[in-house]
């Protein structure tokens, strides 16, 4: 576990992850504000969300230090509804 | 038996089994009336017999829960019951009130019964499962309050365990939710809306807490697994039960005049109601596999495992079958409902009461831990006879329900109700035969209390690897 949280150095890796999460959130918000839509934009936003979820699972929940099925439990969860949402949005653009 | 006052459980268990027999006999009568319409006409009309069948079920399960609580609570609290005398008094009040009510159903026309018992003062009668005269309902409240006082005070004065607290929450919820049976608004949609607060929130809410705590108690006693492990499971199971069960009430609100969103809420939350039951199955098998000792009462362990499996199948799987709004649109109130009702009640609540009786009765009758080998063998036979019969009853009713739904509601050329009933009568006949098998199982069950009483107690077989 110590590898994730070095006490030396200026910034902890997890703090960088936090900064990245904040950044992605702000980009998502700006996209929403700009009012753009469409398949590409929506899937990009969804992709950001899944990436953010994965970062939460790995770094905050500490799953990157776990082996076996539990290592992937959040990732799998993200992919299932994420995939369904993507499918629904893609279909709605076609129809 | 560690505490003298646990003995008050015994009359409760005996009454429960007696009423169980009555329930099954009336079940066979209405099963027969499904196919031979004028069977026992005019003495016992179908609607009366059905009322007796369902009311007896509820009453004997309540007897069973009360008996279970009176046995379990002193042992968990490590002290005697506050008032064993009150428990015995309430037993007789409940039994006599129950018997009078059933006699009222059978001997007086229902409207006459309503008149006799002053229903017009506070009208609560005439609603499915809540047919009891208002004064009987008031009596139930009195009995429940006295019971809660007795059990609650014992728990509060003694050692507090997760098992006893979950049981207490379940029993208190049972009493509080029953108060909605007195609320009878004129608006039919509202009436049904709150009616489910009794019916659904009992069987898919607080009763599950009672089930969970009794199961946990029996598993702690028979497997010797650490209390902490079992309690942790119990926490998670009841949390899931409440999350899914409370909003899951919505699956009864689809077509009764409530707002549209209930179709979504009901579908999503109730679709997850099988989860706590599944967890219960995993939990029970896990604990038995991790057992630290082999308990000599093998029959009780069999009942406990059976409860976990059958509750999952009956309540979980058969509930899920027709819980989604688009499916329920077609299956609502068909024989699928009856199939689910039978296996869920048997698997979850009948079996948990029989589990507790199986575990406690030997001690209540003076054994140190278990009945004789002969008695247990017979009891296990009855387990298989009743359980397999119930599986068949459920399967036949499911077949009937699928056909009924298709012929009457789904096909492009729907047939009238009575024509469809004729077409599926073969299923009803087979259900009646399975019901007879169930009765045989029940007779064997009762017999197991009288066989091998003089023989020595069964002892635990020592297994090399498992222990």
């Amino acid at each position: 576990m110590n590898t994730s949280f070095p006490t030396r150095g200026l910034i902890r890796p997890c703090t960088l992850v936090y900064a990245l999460l904040i950044g992605l959130t702000c980009v998502t918000w700006m996209i929403g504000r700009s009012g753009v839509g469409g398949p590409g934009v929506s899937l990009l936003v969804l992709g950001f969300a899944l990436l953010k979820g994965h970062l939460i699972g790995d770094w905050f929940m500490g799953l990157r230090d776990v082996r076996g099925i539990w290592r992937w439990v959040v990732a799998i969860w993200l992919l299932v509804p994420g995939g369904l949402i993507a499918l629904a949005f893609l279909l709605s653009f076609r129809g | 038996m560690q505490y003298k006052s646990q003995a008050v459980a015994k009359p409760y268990f005996i009454a429960a089994i007696g009423l169980f027999v009555g329930q099954i006999l009336f079940g066979l009568i209405i099963g027969m009336q499904y196919v031979v319409g004028d069977f026992l006409f005019p003495e016992i009309p179908f609607n009366v017999a059905r009322m007796v069948h369902t009311n007896l079920l509820i009453v004997w399960l309540l007897f069973g829960f009360m008996g279970a609580a009176y046995y379990l609570v002193p042992e968990e609290s490590e002290r005697e019951l506050v008032s064993p005398g009150l428990a015995i008094l309430m037993f007789w009040v409940f039994l006599i009130a129950g018997a009078l009510t059933v006699l009222g159903y059978l001997l007086v026309p229902y409207s006459g019964l309503a008149e006799m018992t002053g229903n017009s003062v506070l009208p609560t009668m005439g609603r499915e499962f809540l047919e009891q005269p208002t004064i009987t309902k008031a009596g139930i409240v009195v009995v429940a309050l006295a019971f809660l006082y007795n059990v609650g005070l014992t728990i509060l004065k003694g050692r507090k365990t997760v098992v006893s607290l979950v049981l207490l929450i379940g029993l208190a919820g049972l009493a509080v939710l029953f108060l909605f049976s007195f609320y009878n608004p004129d608006n039919l949609a509202k009436d049904k809306f709150y009616w489910w607060w009794v019916v659904h929130l009992w069987v898919e809410g607080v009763w599950e807490l009672i089930l969970g705590s009794i199961l946990a108690f029996v598993l702690i006693k028979t497997t010797g697994v650490d209390r902490e492990v079992i309690e942790k499971w119990l926490y998670v199971i009841i949390a899931m039960t409440l999350i899914t069960g409370i909003i899951g009430t919505g699956h009864h609100y689809y077509w009764i005049g409530t707002p549209d969103y209930w179709q979504w809420w009901g579908s999503i939350f109730s679709a997850l109601e099988p989860i706590p039951f599944f967890m219960m199955t995993v939990f029970a098998f896990n604990m038995v596999n991790r057992r630290r000792r082999n308990h000599p009462n093998k029959a009780a362990v069999l009942w406990a495992l059976g409860t976990a499996v059958m509750a999952f199948l009956g309540a979980g799987v058969w509930g899920f079958l027709h819980t989604l709004a688009p499916v329920n649109y077609y299956t609502h109130g068909s024989q699928i409902t009856a199939a689910h009702g039978h296996m869920a009640f048997y698997g979850a609540y009948v079996m948990i009461v029989l589990t507790m009786i199986s575990y406690a009765m030997p001690m209540l009758r003076g054994r140190s831990a278990a009945n004789s080998e002969a008695s247990q063998v017979l009891e296990m036979w009855s387990f298989w006879l009743m359980t397999v019969s119930m599986v068949f009853i459920t399967l036949f009713l499911t077949g009937a329900g699928i056909l009924q739904t298709y012929l009457q509601r789904y096909s492009s050329d729907p047939l009238p109700f009575m024509v469809v009933q004729e077409k599926i009568s073969l299923f009803y006949w087979m259900r009646e035969v399975a019901g007879l098998m169930f009765l045989i199982g029940l007779v064997v069950y009762v017999a197991s209390f009288f066989v091998g009483s003089r023989q020595p107690e069964a002892t635990a077989v020592v297994e090399g690897s498992a222990a």
Partner: protein, 200 residues
């Protein structure tokens, strides 16, 4: 893991656990909760297919700035919670309590902002029966709202115990259990935010 791999791992001095941090029971619970939300999300997405114009129109009326503040609040709370876990691991109970209280504060901010949104809707006469979009929006966010409250209750319990010095570097499962639950609350919102407020 094969025996050989296990030996190698021991040689490297890394004990890789098989189970996630915290009590396994909370993880079973988390999985069940995640399943509920997954169903809700999928239901939203597929229902939207039938009412695209309606969903887009009313989505545009939501307060996206409030949602941004709330997302930042939850992310920050998660970060604080994680720092609390690190503090507990290092045996700094007081520090753990401070981080956890800070997270509770962020949770409270979320509740305030979300409540003001609800107040706005209530004032506009919007309820579950207004239309399908609002039905989903209100159901989803309110169900999540309840989880934030539950998560905060758990965090308060953890903070109180940590402040009393109730955790040690050897035994601090409680902190990890509470943290895992909180991260789940955050995780769900991270999908909910783009789905309900942004994607169209």
């Amino acid at each position: 893991m094969t025996a050989e791999a296990a030996i190698q791992q021991q040689r490297r001095g890394l004990a890789v656990p098989r189970f996630p941090p915290g009590d396994l029971a909370i993880w079973i619970f988390i999985l069940a909760e995640l399943l509920v939300f997954a169903l809700f999300f999928a239901a939203y997405a597929f229902t939207r297919m039938q009412h695209i114009a309606l969903f887009d129109r009313y989505q545009a009326m939501l307060n996206r700035d409030a949602a941004l503040i709330n997302t930042l609040a939850l992310l920050t709370a998660s970060y604080f919670v994680m720092r609390g876990v690190v503090a507990a691991r290092e045996g700094q109970g007081r520090l753990c309590a401070r981080w956890t209280w800070a997270a509770v504060g962020m949770g409270a901010l979320f509740l305030v902002v979300k409540s003001s949104e609800y107040a706005h809707h209530l004032h506009a006469g919007i309820n579950l029966s207004t239309n399908t979009f609002y039905m989903f929006y209100l159901s989803l966010t309110f169900f999540h709202f309840l989880h934030v409250i539950l998560g905060m209750v758990i965090l308060v319990a953890v903070a109180l115990k940590a402040g009393r010095g109730g955790y040690t570097p050897e035994e601090h499962t409680g902190v990890e259990t509470g943290a895992s639950y909180w991260h789940m609350v955050d995780l769900v919102w991270l999908v909910l935010f783009p789905l309900v407020y942004v994607m169209k």
